[in-house]
Symmetry: C2
Subunit: 136 residues, 2 copies
Amino acid sequence: MKIYFAASIRGGRQDAELYKELIAFLKEDHQVLTEHIGDNLVTDEGEKNLSDKEIRDRDIAWIVESDVMIAETTRPSLGVGYELAYAEFLQKPVIILHRQEVSPLSAMIAGTDYFDKIFYYSNFDEAVKILESELT
Amino acid sequence: MKIYFAASIRGGRQDAELYKELIAFLKEDHQVLTEHIGDNLVTDEGEKNLSDKEIRDRDIAWIVESDVMIAETTRPSLGVGYELAYAEFLQKPVIILHRQEVSPLSAMIAGTDYFDKIFYYSNFDEAVKILESELT
């Protein structure tokens, strides 16, 4: 499957290493369109070789192309909220992974009926079990 | 005018006092549907007397009812990103206020052509001048 992995960039890169591990796991059996989100060299300043419009238009094209969006929502992010709404409008399947002990999930996301696959987890191993179950 | 003021709740309440002042200013000449966003008693746990679904459905109804969305985007927030996408889909006018010295604005927002009223500002007085100019 083609996966759009959504997670914080300019909202904060505290979890970049976790994103990298999740993307590496997903790549074992699937194509991850947004592989750069796990790149340690991408800071909270974002991708420096592209304009904001280039980034946005590429990311929207990837959402359209994707079979499923997997969003790690623990670090609040305007971009991830925007992308989740886009996935809803395009009726793309969405899997949300959230570490509730780190931050509360937005009511706008948790309260949207369309997002019916919200999984609260604590660590990488739990996330892998959820994804193995959901992606088979 | 009916204003949907969007700003961080569960993403963090560091700027709650600023939201309160902006809402008080807007209320001099307009109706602010989301007045609770400036309430000091609302913490990052959100509104405790409503379910997430009740909050989400009420907020979407307010976006539909509003004449304009004013979003303070400095504190990264999934909810605000989601609301901005909704305003775009509904073709509601949007004014974005962002304090660039505190955090970089998401490329997904800054790079979206529809959001053509993004104002970078530093303090309450500057925000008031922008809003006075835009809302007359």
